[in-house]
Symmetry: C2
Subunit: 284 residues, 2 copies
């Protein structure tokens, strides 16, 4: 995937991420023996995070665990202060970590014979794609939809690009739009309505998932687990598609994020996937 329109500031930051931040995080993680993520996510769900458009709780929890190790791992004091400023200054820092965790959780689920569980969802600004366990590495794609949401001041839906990015791995593990009930604040931010309406988004996702994750629970639904394991059969039976909490990017490269909203996974991907799975099993 190519990101056009990157100016010097963007390129400088990417270089800093690769040459300064990444080695520092790596050294700090070795110093403290790693930071277990599932417990942080569990706590984040009781702090209004859904781990896609809101990561303010988990970013703080992660920093609290990692900061002492960063101090011990990074020699230069000004570099250390800059790293802590960077993490501290970005409420969405943990999204990067949540995405990697999502991938690490779902990759071992790939290629289980007969399994109708979705192992990845992603979009590139043109198409939306899903992978299903029983059909291995095949992508099932359809034109991506436009997010519906709220725009930052000065922008409208005329500025929006069709939905893009890899962050839908977060919904694939039961977070983001699936965990909307955890996050009345994010419901307002993405234009999903009131706290009561936020619960409905999560309830709908129970209809299309294999189970509820007892490790990641939702206080506002009396601590039931997040809907987890999207089952293509249930999607087709119910006609309900995954809800994704997404950032809205400007259609011109380099402008960046112009809003936040909800986008629905296109049903056509799931039709193709179920047909392919049936063919694989010889029941088509």
């Amino acid at each position: 995937m190519r990101f056009g329109g990157n100016d010097d500031e963007v390129l400088e930051r990417l270089k800093w991420l690769a040459s300064i931040l990444a080695p520092a995080l790596s050294a700090a993680l070795r110093e403290c023996g790693g930071v277990p993520l599932k417990g942080i996510i569990a706590r984040g769900l009781s702090m209004g995070d859904e781990m896609h458009q809101r990561n303010v709780g988990c970013t703080g929890l992660f920093l609290r665990q990692l900061a002492p190790a960063l101090v011990r791992a990074v020699d230069d004091r000004e570099t250390l202060a800059t790293i802590l400023d960077f993490i501290g200054g970005n409420d969405q820092f943990f999204l990067n970590i949540a995405m990697v965790m999502g991938k690490a959780i779902m990759d071992p689920v790939r290629a289980i014979e007969g399994s109708s569980i979705v192992t990845a969802m992603t979009r590139n600004g043109t198409d939306f794609g899903i992978r299903v366990s029983g059909t291995g590495d095949t992508w099932f794609t359809a034109p991506v939809e436009m997010p519906k949401g709220l725009y930052f001041p000065g922008f409208t839906e005329d500025d929006a690009n069709p939905d893009m990015g890899d962050s839908t791995i977060v919904e694939t593990v039961g977070l983001g739009g699936f965990a909307m009930a955890a996050s009345p604040a994010v419901a307002g931010f993405v234009g999903a309505g009131t706290a009561a309406e936020a619960l409905d988004y999560t309830r709908a996702m129970f209809e299309i998932t294999a189970g509820r994750n007892p490790e990641w629970t939702l206080p506002s639904l009396d601590f039931t687990g997040v809907p987890t394991g999207i089952d293509v059969r249930k999607v087709i039976e119910s006609g309900i598609v995954p809800t994704i909490n997404t950032g809205i990017a400007h259609r011109k490269p380099g402008v960046g994020q112009v809003g936040a909203g909800i986008v629905r996974a296109p049903l056509a991907c799931f039709h193709q996937a179920l047909a392919a799975l049936a063919a694989e099993l010889g029941v088509a």
Copy 2:
């Protein structure tokens, strides 16, 4: 107030707080020009904190703001790591800060002629005391009640001391038990019931307060402000007393916290205060 039964570990920690942590925090706050607290509280309320029995969100938000300044202000690297470990390892760290903020907010409200607003509530394990603005520095006291709550494993209400401590300044500014609606997780922790029942605690406090604070809002009540400014007249009219989210201390010194629960301010304090205020105004 005397804390008996302090062993060497407690005394060592108190010494470390005074000689290492306090000067470091002070230097860091000067380094960064201070950390505004009202915005952190506002965010904490959307993260499940009520700032008395739950400060996990605000502790992270505070550390994110202060950590770079701590790095720049503290020379010794191991001391710095120890400080970050201490703050990072204590979900309730921010309670200390919330209490000081509460005092700083309410002290200027003291001694306003004719005002029936409560400016402080506190308890010492024997008595509960309140101060009211129109009657200045006079304390109105009554025997403190026993908290009702949940106990840590191995402890029962036979172990509990009557309620104690200065932290009720947090409820005095509309947080803690007054902001129970912000915190379904704390409702479970203090034995206040489900998320829906947590809302009722906050709704009751609207009956005895002068207003709703538009700077500190509650997502689960569609962003209405926290009930603020306890009015002794409304307490007496309604018979509703302030709800306090409290830690339960063991009755033997040195054992420490054995549970968490809810305690009610005794109505007798408010009766005395209203009578004194009426006498002060010549309407008794």
